[in-house]
Subunit: 328 residues, 2 copies
DNA sequence: GTGAAAGCGCTAACAC
DNA sequence: GTGTTAGCGCTTTCAC
């Protein structure tokens, strides 16, 4: 620890330890050979100088890149405002702390691969984590990104996917509804173009058919506002509905609000369940029954896979657990 | 746009444009002189090659650093789990998109400046944004960080502060409570060591004293759980309370839940207001009256200030607006 | 206006 | 084992 003014370089360390820069480098980077004596002297010098390797220089020579791009696709840049995106970025930023890499957030126009092309050519980019990717977008992934890209959501053979087990979670929710005696279970879906939502809806439909129960779908858009409206539509079309499964918690919260405004009791008259277990699910009155969605671990895994850039299975599925609370 | 395999370098551009690397550099970086003819040729080459400057190499020569560290201080690393932190990181990551800089997230032990020392010596670090900094921590900021550090919350003469106008927001809330006829207004505070909360409490106390009203304080810890418990304590100590002002929304939401469990009507019997306007505030039943807290803009401003590293006023205050809903 | 040359701090062959 | 020698891709004096 010397005068804080000019941070020590590897040269300073080498000089103080009386070895060559190469030797110092080997010791510090933990690669290659060095005699115990040399190693000790170098380590001592590092300590005395408070030497911290310059990640920039390292990245330059190794060509690894220093930024992890979290790219969220959507119609407008407003998709970045979703708290979900913040959770992904937060987890990614934490995962990056062990690497000399930082996270940046980009919006990806729904089909615009020009942005992606540019990112692929940016040598400062260590890797890309896609969020909300669509099939058309996945079809246009630049070849240069191969091996350093991952997708949170759907993937392709060349873009590994990291996602919650949507079908499994939905399955548990619907079975729970069924087990508690509900038989006329409606579902509020998401916008059509997002296939992760498709999995949940698919699972719902399958179970309903298997059990010989009616399929009742109302489309939503992931917002609470729309959920509230959907509650009304639902009541109007199928007044005997006794349970509602919403594709995500926000929608479910909206449904509950909409239902209660009409004087319907939850869960007394109609049970309501969501999917995601967002922080506020537990806070709501009534507390929301839902299926967990480990966003943090998923994002961390995706980021780590990209950073490690060693072979990854094409699909990594994270289990979703039923969270029983009072709304269903 | 050539074969995507080896991204073009400045050398390629220079060669294609038939100028020296220096000239190409000047044109691309927009610095220094170049004849219109040369400039055109270079730009054309850039376009044809799809050249993207290598931020790493730039950072190395300019010595600017490539990572922005968001450092959150707290008792344990669990402070990073707060959704608030994710919002800060998300906003910072967005702000970084215009710079060759990425964000990493670090936990800072409450008084441990060793971590900060290390960060200060890391030449890969472009700057630091402190979150939840305490006075003891601010006193130990390494000199090497001067000019490239900012604090979200309290600051010092050398560490610029970016924060919501806590006093102003609290002022509005209390006045609103008063204006709607409430006179026995209690407050649920935060943990003692965080001075941002202190501002809010201070404002409450001042107004109450000025108005000749009783000061009623119950201490909380920013969690809904504690808010729920605080509601009980409060009722027991001052049964005639007709309004509760909680230091943050989470606490307020807990207070509401606690109150309703006891059969108290909100806002009928007791009005409840919070501070922050978190996403769930609008969703709650009853919807929470609160004061806004522009976390995104604050974080973006702090990040930008650090990245720009040009002189910044010691305190930048962001207005807080009263958000009238139904709970008060 | 433009080019040659000297690094930024580090790693990785390749000799010794 | 260890040092020497080249670079990684870019910016920036400093001559011409």
């Amino acid at each position: 620890m010397t005068s804080a003014h000019r941070p020590a370089t590897l040269d300073d360390v080498a000089r103080l330890a009386d070895v060559s820069r190469s030797t110092a480098s080997r010791v510090v980077a933990g690669t290659g050979f060095a005699s115990p004596a040399a190693r000790d002297r170098v380590l001592a010098a590092v300590d005395r100088l408070g030497y911290v390797p310059n990640a920039t220089a390292r990245a330059l020579v190794r060509g690894g890149g220093v930024r992890l791009v979290v790219a969220v696709s959507g119609v407008t840049a407003a998709v970045l405002d979703d708290p979900y995106v913040d959770r992904v970025v937060g987890a990614a930023a934490r995962a990056c702390a062990s690497y000399p890499v930082g996270v940046v957030l980009h919006w990806l126009p729904l089909h615009g691969s020009a942005t992606l092309e540019r990112i692929a050519r940016d040598r400062g980019v260590a890797g890309v984590v896609l969020v909300n990717a669509t099939e058309p977008l996945l079809d246009t992934i630049p070849a240069g990104l191969r091996g350093r890209i991952a997708s949170i959501g759907i993937g392709t053979p060349t873009v590994p996917s990291f996602d919650v087990d949507n079908a499994g979670g939905a399955d548990q929710v619907v079975r729970h509804l069924y087990a508690s005696g509900r038989r006329r279970i409606a579902m509020v879906t998401g916008p059509r173009w997002l296939s992760c939502a498709g999995r949940v809806v698919g699972a719902y439909q399958r179970i309903m058919r298997e059990s010989g129960l009616p399929v009742r779908l109302v489309s939503g858009d992931f917002t609470a506002e729309r959920g509230r409206a959907a509650a009304g539509e639902l009541l109007a079309r199928w007044p005997d509905t006794d349970a509602v499964f919403a594709v995500n918690d926000l929608t479910a919260l909206g449904v509950i609000a909409g239902l209660r405004e009409t004087g319907v009791r939850v869960p007394g008259d109609i049970a309501v369940a969501g999917f995601d277990d967002i922080p506020h699910a537990a806070l709501n009155t009534p507390a929301l029954t839902t299926a967990s969605h480990p966003v943090g671990p998923i994002a961390a895994a995706a980021a780590t896979a990209v950073l490690h850039n060693r072979p990854v299975p094409p699909v990594t599925s994270f289990p979703s657990a039923l969270v029983r609370r009072t709304s269903a």
